[in-house]
């Protein structure tokens, strides 16, 4: 015993030590992650966000530096609040508030204390901030808009919110993310990849250099630049033409589906949503409940398609062989139908109508008849109606276009099921929903759908999904924008319709809208629309609608224009269409008088009517 006591004690001690080490390092130890290690300060380096160019390589969006004061609440020591607030030009309330809120979020993770310092403030503060433990200045890139137009297309960036943080762990508190438009759609390309630097801290929380000689650090990777399909000159011109009006202009290049312009009126300056004034400006725009500038009307306004819809009704009737280019009907200023001799008014002026002058004069009777024949063919109403509905939808109506703009509306193209549900005890027929034939009734479309529809007509049977992206640096644009969507209607019927659409400008509703040297095809429209005032459905002045494409033989531009409450289609929407087409194809305007007239036209009175709390008249020129 005497000989081995020390030996035994030594062995026992070692075993106890090894067990203890096992407990500390293996059993109780969590897998090591440098990101969790509070001995290492993680400094994110932000990449350059991708630039955005228009189709003619004009730089629209770039970056500008911005400096944020960051706070790590856990490290904040007692400080001279008064001096600090003076330095940052903030109030004591803001200070207390911010301290309270950031501490509640996390005591260890940095939060933004004061965003967007000016350059002068930064220069001044950079020296002094070191005095205050727990605060530091972080450089960040803000967006710089080199244009005043296209805010609805470009979208904007803003600080990530909680749901962004939860959905994608790429983001950390205070990062910026695209919130709307191209910034949102192509966020993954634009944002690039953040870099990270690992800084060794000592126990007094001072930085003492880079960890492991910077071998673990990652450089940031700049975001991809984008070229978008917008022609900024055309876009700007469109925004100008829409002055003091609500509505939208959507112009598409038919051969590619590229959106040449996407005007939402009234527009706003994208620079408003940058910098420290951002929230204030945003709120200003947000609370404008008459003009609703933040709503992209090109994508979100839904309204009855009106007369342009006759183009589709005609095409389907031709394809179904219920009419042909030789049929004529006699229009007596109204279309009488049904057992109760209901009548649908027609403003075409009356007379014999064939498909050509029915389009150019926008004859309701002709298309009501064609529609009725299509639906009641072989007395198979439900099947015919669904076939008709599918045919309409193949023009991109009644559903999301699946384009690359983050917002949109489905619009509405009814199916037989819809009417079965609507009239459960009643055998409905084409006369039940005859207003569908003239684009009223249940038909609802958005301007971009309408533009896409006329694009398909211009292409005589196909379209590319309208899109905003033209080129992504280092990548190709999504496949779905490079694939044709075809419509199962024979080209010859499109040729027939085109003659009608061209006649519109010769002796039809658009005869005053001609542009010298350009053969335009188009169709006017006037859509009834309603609003609720104090819960009562009230009709407002009709929307002025126009769709067109030009030149006839080789369409370069297809356009849909909506002027809300603008009354006759040709009055405002038609003029705007022609001016846009001329601007795009010729680069200059021949009739300055019309241009001036359009720009100066204000529909402000019209828009204020529903809010006036007084009775008002509608549809007055």
């Amino acid at each position: 015993m005497r000989k081995i006591l020390l030996f035994l004690i030594v062995i026992t001690t070692s075993v106890v030590f090894i067990l203890r080490l096992f407990y500390l390092q293996v059993y109780a130890s969590e897998p090591y992650s440098i990101y969790e290690d509070n001995a290492i300060r993680k400094v994110l380096t932000y990449p350059k966000r991708g630039y955005i160019y228009d189709r003619n390589n004009n730089l629209l969006v770039s970056n500008q530096p911005s400096y944020d004061v960051m706070i790590i609440p856990g490290l904040v020591k007692e400080l001279d609040t008064l001096e600090f607030c003076d330095l940052l030009k903030i109030s004591k309330t803001y200070f207390d508030n911010k301290i309270e809120r950031t501490s509640r979020y996390s005591r260890r993770i940095p939060s933004v204390f004061l965003a967007h310092l000016s350059k002068e403030d930064y220069g001044f503060l950079a020296e002094k901030i070191r005095k205050f433990d727990g605060f530091y200045i972080q450089k960040r890139n803000l967006r710089q808009y080199n244009t005043k137009i296209g805010a609805n297309v470009l979208g904007y960036v803003a600080e990530v919110n909680r749901s962004n943080l939860e959905k994608d762990n790429y983001y950390s508190q205070g990062d910026i993310i695209g919130k709307q438009g191209v910034e949102l759609s192509y966020e993954k390309y634009l944002r690039g990849e953040k870099g990270i630097k690992f800084i060794q801290k000592d126990r007094f929380n001072r930085d003492i250099g880079s960890y492991n000689n910077g071998l673990n650090d990652k450089n940031s990777i700049a975001g991809n630049d984008l070229i978008i399909t917008i022609d900024s000159e055309l876009q700007e011109y469109g925004e100008l033409l829409m002055s003091n009006k609500k509505g939208a202009i959507v112009a598409i290049e038919p051969s590619t589906g590229e959106l040449l312009s996407l005007v939402s009126a009234p527009p706003y300056n994208p620079n408003l949503l940058v910098g420290r004034e951002r929230s204030k400006n945003y709120f200003e725009l947000y609370k404008d409940s008459i003009y609703k500038p933040l709503i992209d009307k090109g994508l979100l306004s839904t309204f009855p398609a009106g007369s342009p819809f006759k183009v589709i009704v005609g095409l389907i009737a031709l394809q179904e062989n219920v009419i042909n280019d030789k049929n004529t009907i006699l229009c007596g200023g109204e279309y009488i139908y049904g057992r109760n001799k209901k009548s649908m008014k027609c403003h075409c002026g009356g007379g014999y109508r064939n498909i050509y002058n029915a389009i150019s004069e926008s004859c309701n009777s002709y298309f009501a008849d064609a529609y009725r024949k299509t639906i009641s063919k072989d007395n198979n109403i439900s099947k015919n109606f669904d076939m008709w509905s599918e045919g309409v939808k193949s023009f991109g109506l009644g559903n999301y276009l699946n384009n690359d703009l983050p917002i949109g509306k489905k619009g509405m193209i009814p199916t037989s099921e819809f009417y079965d549900r609507w009239y459960p005890d009643f055998r409905w027929g084409p006369t039940t929903n005859l207003s569908n034939s003239i684009g009223q009734g249940e038909i609802l479309v958005t301007p971009i759908q309408l533009a896409n529809m006329i694009t398909a007509v211009a292409n005589k049977g196909y379209y590319y999904t309208p899109h905003i992206i033209k080129q992504i640096q280092g990548d190709s644009i999504p496949l779905r924008f490079r694939q044709k969507n075809t419509i199962e209607i024979e080209k010859k019927y499109f040729d027939i319709i085109e003659v009608g659409l061209s006649k519109v400008y010769k002796n039809g509703t658009g005869k005053l809208l001609n542009i010298p040297g350009i053969e335009i095809c188009g169709k006017s429209g006037t859509a009834e629309n309603f609003t609720k005032i104090n819960g009562k459905k009230t009709q407002l002045t009709d929307h002025s609608i126009f769709v067109a494409y030009a030149p006839k033989n080789d369409p370069q531009i297809a356009i849909a224009v909506l002027v809300e409450n603008g009354y006759y289609g040709s009055t405002w929407a038609g003029r705007i269409s022609s001016l846009m087409i001329e601007k795009y194809l010729k680069g200059s305007i021949s009739n300055r008088g019309i241009e001036k007239l359009v720009i100066n036209k204000s529909l402000d009175d019209e828009y204020k009517k529903p809010f006036s709390k007084k009775p008002f008249n509608i549809n007055k020129l």
């Binding site: 000989k3 020390l6 030590f17 500390l24």
Partner: protein
Amino acid sequence: MIGQRKNILRLDWVIILIYFLLLGFGIGNILSSSISGEEINIFDFSNLYGKQFLYSLISLFFGFIAISIEVKFYERFSSIFYILSIVILVCLFFFGKRVNGALSWFSIASFNLQPSEFVKITVALAVSKYISDFQTDLKNAIDQFKLFLIILIPIIIIIFQNDTGSSIVFLSLFFVLYREGISQNYVKSIFGIIIFSILSLKISAPTTALLAILLIIFYYSFKKKVRNKIIKIISVSSLCVITCFGTIFIYENILKNHQQNYIKVWLNLEKDPEKIKQMERTILYNLNESKKAISSGGILGKGYLKGTRTMGNFVPAQHSDYIFSTIGEEWGFLGSVFIILLYTILITRIIYLSENQKNKFSRVYGYCTASILFVHFLINIGMVLGLTPTIGIPLPFLSYGGSSLIAFTLLLSIFLRLDGNKKNEW
């Protein structure tokens, strides 16, 4: 010359190998725990690792000399060394320099020398010499007393110099006394004192005392053939009672506040959460940081020079007393176990070789060496792992410090020399 070469060839290679491994590991980890981004240059003696490298060279030089000296020299001059070292210790009172409250340093030029480190050697030599003297009989009370005196004199001096940590090391020599035949009762008493002291602090003195008396009565009532049973029961019991109440008395009246705190932390005596919080910022801070560092190392460690806590100097004194925490962090469980095994092999190897000595002086000295190394190993790593009270003594061969490195090298070299001689004993 020929004889000398023979002697060198017979040096125990296991010990030498482990010595060099520990030395290398030590310099490496001191480097890791003291660099701050600058270029590494081992010959830059302004850095801690550079200094330690220099100390290693000095140690090797002294070690070489110690091995070269004739065996008889150590035995013959041990008393003189002992007296000399006591004199030097006493000199500290007059010429010493106070570092961290302990008056245990001589400041020579820019270097500090800690004589208490060297006293370990001289005491070991003196104890070996005294025990191996054929006139000494460890059963004899007077001889026992003299032996205790040899050990207690430096302890008392060092305690008065406020370096309690170093003084505790000398208590390890009781292992030697036990090995050499001192009465079992001493061992029993020491274990009894330790256990009853802890219990008194942890539970309470009266309860412990009562428990002890019951235990003693129980023990003696079953033991036959004991003369003067009653007297023995009373005397042993009163000793226990004195121990129990004495512990509390010493704890409350003699120990200083910080010493009390160390014991509080070790035995988990503090229940007031406010005070625990306060301790976490002060005396518990080191311990917590070192545990965190070790724990974060995981199985494989973060890699050499990649320990985030080591690089950030999170553990104070991580190059000296807390060096094991950097090993734990950078080399992980495997590296730590490797170091523990190195020490275990080293100490058991010394014990084994000591047992094989024909010469009693060599055997006792070997035992002294093993005991001293063991106590350092036990207290230092135990402290870093949070198992033993916080007592600041270095980890042999690994911790930064010239005095301790040279002293440990000498201690080991002398043993190697004695061991190398075992075949041609006289």
